[in-house]
Symmetry: C2
């Protein structure tokens, strides 16, 4: 068994251990903890690589991952595969306690293609199918099943941030990976199948369509103005003021000018950087405070747990690094207690978003939330 | 009171009547029926025009329609605003019975801007806000509250088709309208707020992002091959055979090669046309049979009512008419009884679709459905 130890920022140590089916689990710990727990499960066969098919109507890739249909759906707490292993439960995490772990997804949409991957060239309807090359990882924010991301203390979120930075740095080295996308889905309303606080890291072999669009917009803006789009967006938000939700020394959070969801918050470092790996330690250190505040404000609007998708948008691995900048987009489809915004005909079939709420109004609602005293 | 009568195909007559708040209702009838029922409701003020804001991160317009937040949500049958007016209920339809009606949406996302509309030019972050110019109409497929589109008889669906053609023809004349999008949302799972069988017709002042993408793909394909993309797609489907779900003399239905949803069916005329208005009468006459079959197969897969979005994609009003072709896309997020496909991080934040089911497999499941004898 080979284990591997890395010293990262903020006193975080990463220990890599093999899982029984050949996957890797990475423990991220603050303090000197020796990790050596062995995955005692039977060796299982890993699912094969899925297919990429080109949708000729839009020239977008669809990933076909037929093996995912059977994945676990909201198991009871006693059977949670993201809890630490304990008597009666052998979970995905062999050790009996952990701080933060990242392991390879058991049913990945994208996986290692081996050596010789390249994406098929566009040839109209004759475009060959590709392989779903890439990587899908699961990040467990804590071993406490009963909490949520924004209830973690700041030190704990700092370890999560260090794990995101480390994964971005490491996955960027893989030749077949074009874009790295850490995100968290929260709430059954957005299809979460495991309630344990966790996120995912998708590493795509192509620029995802929305990232491609953001790249084109940033490039066009740079070409016409010589300026970095996200920096100018933040300047406008600061000037307008009315959509700012929170800020601290290093970060600013705002409802974007043309928000597409009833509650949408973008959180960006004040000094712009290309990706998570490029954040300074000072920036990384002050992220936990704004992350907690923003998500607590979101839950505070209606006094209920809000379903959300929180996604890190960063510069792609190999292009656009001079024009695209890191920010964290939180979108919630909750427009009122008992009412969701659905992506129906206009949004889903035609891609045109209709917003029922003015961004200035939702920003006001978010600012008006009284934060809990014991944060 | 001015009423207005138009003779359309298939013996359908359209009668326009004013509603009390200045909107128009259009009755589409087969046979000689005189429509003159008066809308007796108090005159109500119409909501103002919403705002279009440019999302600089993607250069897409978001429509802000703050007045829609209060719209009616799943009223009981006795209060259904889409039923015909009856003792105790004054609905949106003044007459006491109807075949098919189309009326202007009470809470439209897009509305008539008056004379002088033009979309603001792109100027980066300085792009001015636009007006939500356009049109939103509601189409009631029947006055029977308790049925669904595919349970209607073929004559009735033929009237619906005639109404779609007529609306496309008429809305295409409006200078501020760039694209016409008839669609039906079915099922609470996709956010339907009224269970009465009905659809919507959105007329946008811009090309919706997905339409724009389809336009670019069709143009690129034509430029490089000299061929019409949808015609070649259908040739491939015919050649492959395995994804075909149904066909008749004039229409073909298939699960597309790179389907994005667990159940997705595209239905296209065998002889391609640009839009609904350009369909021949023979094509229009044979649409009801394939529409019924395809939707019955969809409901038959799990023996439950499937939530779906069914959208007509057609050539935009003023561009791409030489390369874009009419087809009807039905997408369902139901992947199994009790299981929905959610658009979470990968799809929603990054636009990259993951499919859990091979298109060939869902096509087989759809073909295997035994259709009801009494259709």
């Amino acid at each position: 068994m080979s284990d591997h130890i890395n010293h990262l920022s903020a006193g975080v140590i990463r220990t890599d251990l093999p899982m029984s089916d050949g996957r890797t689990i990475r423990y991220y710990d603050q303090g000197h903890i020796t990790r050596s727990a062995v995955d005692t499960r039977e060796k299982e066969e890993r699912p094969g690589l899925g297919e990429l098919r080109l949708d000729p109507l839009t020239n977008e890739w669809t990933a076909i991952a037929a093996h995912r249909q059977t994945r676990v759906f909201l198991p009871p707490k006693e059977l949670c595969p993201l809890c630490a292993t304990k008597p009666g439960l052998i979970s995905e995490i062999p050790d009996k306690a952990y701080q933060v772990v990242v392991f390879d997804n058991k049913s990945p949409s994208f996986a290692d293609p081996g050596e010789s991957f390249s994406l098929p060239k566009w040839a109209g309807l004759k475009t060959k199918n590709g392989q779903s090359a890439g990587k899908c990882e699961v990040i467990c924010f804590t071993d406490n099943h009963e909490t949520s991301f924004h209830q973690l203390d700041e030190d704990q979120i700092r370890i999560v941030m260090e794990a995101w930075r480390d994964r971005t740095r490491e996955l960027s080295k893989e030749k077949h990976i074009a874009h790295i996308a850490p995100f968290e889905n929260r709430g059954e309303e957005v299809g979460v199948t495991l309630s344990h606080p966790h996120g995912q890291i998708y590493a795509y072999p192509f620029l995802p369509p929305r990232t491609e669009k953001m790249y084109r917009a940033a490039k066009k803006f740079y070409k016409e103005t010589g300026k970095i789009l996200l920096e100018e967006i933040i300047k406008r938000e600061v000037k307008d003021g009315v959509r700012i939700v929170a800020q601290n020394d290093h970060w600013i959070a705002y409802v974007p000018f043309a928000a597409r969801y009833p509650f949408e918050i973008h959180v960006a470092p004040k000094k712009s950087v290309a990706d998570l790996a490029a954040l300074s330690d000072a920036q990384a250190d002050s992220y936990p405070a704004i992350a907690k505040e923003v998500l607590q404000r979101l839950d505070g609007v209606f006094g209920i747990e809000m379903a959300y998708i929180a996604a890190w948008h960063q510069a792609p691995v190999r292009k656009g690094r001079d024009v695209m900048r890191l920010h964290w987009q939180i979108t919630s489809i909750r427009r009122a207690p008992g009412k969701l915004k659905y992506l129906a005909g206009s949004e889903s079939a035609f891609g045109a978003f209709i917003m029922d709420l003015k961004p200035e109004q939702s920003a006001q609602q978010l600012r008006d939330v009284r934060l809990p005293k014991n944060r």
